[in-house]
């Protein structure tokens, strides 16, 4: 008896934890990490759904999410390095020049 509903609830909890992390932490690295958590939780939900319907599509989508997360992280971290090079700080609140 596979835990479908519980699996989805776990995915939801992980997702909300990721949201909290994005909103609370000011360090850019922590924000990116929280985004990874959110992506992972979404992937978990997909896989659970695929299992429920007895189809491989859930896992296929998880694969795509994984590929996307990898691309996003590589570019994002390059940007973080660039940001640190320019502003000597990783505080997102301090980097608010697009104000107005």
């Amino acid at each position: 008896m596979l835990p479908i509903r519980e699996g989805l609830i776990v995915a939801g909890i992980l997702f909300t934890l990721g949201v909290v992390g994005v909103l609370v932490r000011r360090n850019v690295l922590f924000v990116l990490m929280s985004i990874e958590v959110m992506l992972n939780a979404a992937g978990l939900a997909f896989v659970v759904a695929g299992t429920r319907w007895r189809q491989p599509d859930g896992q296929v989508v998880f694969l795509f999410i994984l590929a996307m997360a990898a691309a996003e992280v590589s570019v994002g971290l390059a940007l973080v390095l660039e940001l640190y090079h320019q502003y000597k700080a990783l505080d997102t609140d301090a980097i608010s020049r697009m104000r107005g």
């Binding site: 994005v22 924000v31 609140d93 104000r99």
Partner: protein
């Protein structure tokens, strides 16, 4: 020959257009030729038409010439049509002929003025509008002419527009007459609504058939038309504009504000006499207005020091006589007085123009003097005109016409001895102020030297008008017979005042006026000063000088509240609604731009919050 009728207004109108478009490019001789030529042609044609009309009168003594249908909307189709009967014939002959003389005069008077072509354009347009007014077959076309003359009056009063005072005088004239014009427009609406047509002859028949004497509709319509006439003819209470209108050039004052435009009101009442006969209270009001105005203006004229203002008040007073005649039912007498008044008033203004030009634009009579020897032409013409105005017995036209009015006032069913008495008092006043003017200007010591003598163009019209002022009254009987073909006769009621008595009284009044003027101004100049020196005299003098305080009254009553309201609404209440919309949008913009903090976490928070709300809506609603 009668088919040439339409040319009488058309030729001056074409002349006006020509001068407006090409005027600045033409040489002044060409401008004068066009300006005077069109009016000469108009005058000649009107004389020919008159000859044809008199020799072979058309059926029912009226001739209608329809040009085209002007408006065709529902049941309303006024036409451009001209109606010729005794009334309009007399008026157009007088108007075109006097206009021709004045145009000739102005070729020399206005020489050297940089608005030469503009002047003749406006004057031609004026004559075209006036003739349209007089010949109009329906009240709408009459109103067109009415407005046209009002426009030209405004343009010509403010002719020398570089001086803002002239513009203000023009505005005052236009606005005050506008009050009357609005009343007249409402009257036209009422007439059309009740009787379904504006063609004057049909209107008169319909009114007689549908409205009983004293019906409220008739009273309302007549009262509204009276309002219009009062405005245009500068009678009480709308007479305040005419003295200020003297800011315009003297030929304008002669033509518009003495001989022609100001008599449009008289014409209107005479033309719609059926309505006034159906509304006896209003007809009585006409007489009362005329009587009151002739006295009021007479007193005001006694105190004026500007030469043209005296003549302006004199015009107001004489039109009061015409209104008095209309009010007692002496329609023909009013037109007769119009004709003689046109002659001698135009003459007086032309002579005044000669004096003013000669003294290099001096208007104050107390700075003139002793011009009897310097300007003999001006003296004799002014004297003839003045005697005609005051009513020198037997040899002046003015005597006959004024005498007829006085006798009609006494012997009409609608008249009274009181009105006759007022008329006689008016004769005293008229004689008094006229000879005051003559004695002060032409007798005594010379004050200002003469710099310019008049030329032929200014003298010939003066001579012609002087001649007419003398002989114009001798045709009283044939004139009355002719007018009877178009206007009803006087409903007579003898009150014991015979014609001989009335003439004698008028002659006595005339002499009384001259004697008082001679005593106060020639024999004993100190007397005039002592009259003004005592407090009551000074008060009266100031009161009459300010036109019985009416200007002051209107200023307090109307002008100041309107100006105050305009100033209070400077922020424009209506506009601020639209402005408020724009300001509200700007406010929203400023509020929303506060959310652009540039902080990542805030944006993420808004996204999270938004998604929470959206999910809630989808799930729970």
């Amino acid at each position: 020959m009668l088919q040439l009728l339409w040319l009488i207004p058309a030729i001056p109108f074409a002349g006006a257009l020509l001068l407006m478009v090409f005027g600045p490019r033409l040489r002044s001789k060409a401008v004068a030729a066009v300006g005077v030529g069109t009016i000469a042609a108009s005058a000649i044609i009107s004389l020919l038409v008159a000859a044809a009309f008199l020799s072979a009168p058309p059926a029912a003594n009226a001739y209608t010439q329809t040009l085209w249908t002007w408006i065709d909307a529902g049941g309303f189709h006024p036409e451009i049509a001209f109606y010729l009967d005794a009334l309009s014939l007399v008026m157009i002959v007088v108007v075109t002929f006097v206009s021709f003389l004045i145009h000739l005069y102005s070729t020399e008077f206005m020489r050297g003025d940089e608005g030469y072509s503009r002047f003749f354009a406006y004057m031609n347009l004026f004559v075209a509008s006036m003739v349209t007014l007089l010949l109009a077959d329906n009240l709408l076309l009459l109103y067109l002419g009415w407005e046209g003359v009002g426009l030209c009056s405004y343009l010509l009063i403010g002719f020398w527009y570089q001086d803002p005072a002239n513009g203000r005088a023009g505005q005052k004239a236009f606005i005050v007459t506008r009050v009357g014009d609005t009343a007249m427009a409402v009257g036209l609406f009422l007439l059309f609504h009740s009787l379904g047509t504006l063609r004057i002859q049909d209107l008169m028949h319909a009114a007689q058939n549908h409205w009983a004497a004293g019906s409220p509709y008739a009273i309302a319509a007549a009262a509204l038309l009276l309002g219009g006439a009062v405005g245009k003819s500068a009678q009480l209470p709308l007479q305040t504009w005419l003295p200020d209108a003297m800011a315009g050039p003297t030929p304008t004052s002669a033509l518009i504000h003495a001989a022609t435009m100001v008599t449009a009101g008289v014409y209107l009442i005479a033309r719609t006499h059926v309505l006034f006969e159906l509304a006896p209270p209003i007809q009585f009001a006409v007489a009362v207005v005329g009587a009151a105005t002739l006295l009021l203006a007479g007193f005001s004229a006694l105190t004026q020091s500007d030469l043209k203002r005296v003549l302006a008040y004199s015009t107001v007073s004489q039109i009061g006589y015409m209104f008095l005649a209309l009010g007692v039912g002496a329609w023909g007498a009013a037109i007769f007085h119009f004709m003689t008044h046109a002659f001698f008033k135009a003459l007086l203004f032309l002579a005044a123009g000669i004096v003013i030009e000669a003294l290099h634009h001096e208007h104050d009579i107390f700075r003139m003097g002793g011009l009897r020897k310097e300007l003999p032409v001006a003296f004799w013409t002014f004297l003839i005109g003045g005697c005609a105005l005051a009513g020198l017995p037997l040899i002046t036209a003015g005597f006959y016409s004024k005498d007829l009015i006085l006798w009609s006032a006494a012997n009409s069913r609608a008249g009274s001895a009181g009105l006759w008495g007022v008329g006689i008092a008016g004769v005293v006043l008229t004689s008094l102020y006229t000879f005051r003017l003559i004695f002060v200007v032409f007798f005594g010591q010379a004050s200002t030297p003469v710099s310019r003598r008049p030329g032929a163009a200014m003298l010939i019209p003066a001579y012609v008008l002087a001649f007419l002022s003398i002989v114009g009254g001798f045709d009283k009987a044939p004139f009355a017979a002719f007018m009877a073909t178009a206007l009803p006769a006087l409903p007579e009621l003898s009150r014991g005042i015979t014609e001989a008595m009335s003439s004698a009284a008028a002659g006595a009044a005339f002499l009384a006026g001259i004697l008082i003027a001679w005593y106060v101004y020639l024999r004993n100049p100190a007397a005039s000063r002592s009259l003004v020196a005592n407090p009551a005299g000074r008060l009266l003098h100031r009161f009459w000088f300010a036109d019985w305080g009416m200007d002051w009254l209107y200023d307090r009553l109307f002008v100041r509240p309107v100006v105050w309201m305009a100033a209070a609404n400077k922020g424009d209440v209506i506009d601020s609604i639209y402005d408020g919309l724009a300001r509200a949008a700007a406010l929203c913009y400023r509020v929303l731009s506060l959310t652009e903090t540039g902080k990542l976490r805030w944006y993420a928070a808004w996204i999270a919050g938004g998604s929470v709300v959206m999910v809630a809506i989808v799930v729970f609603l």
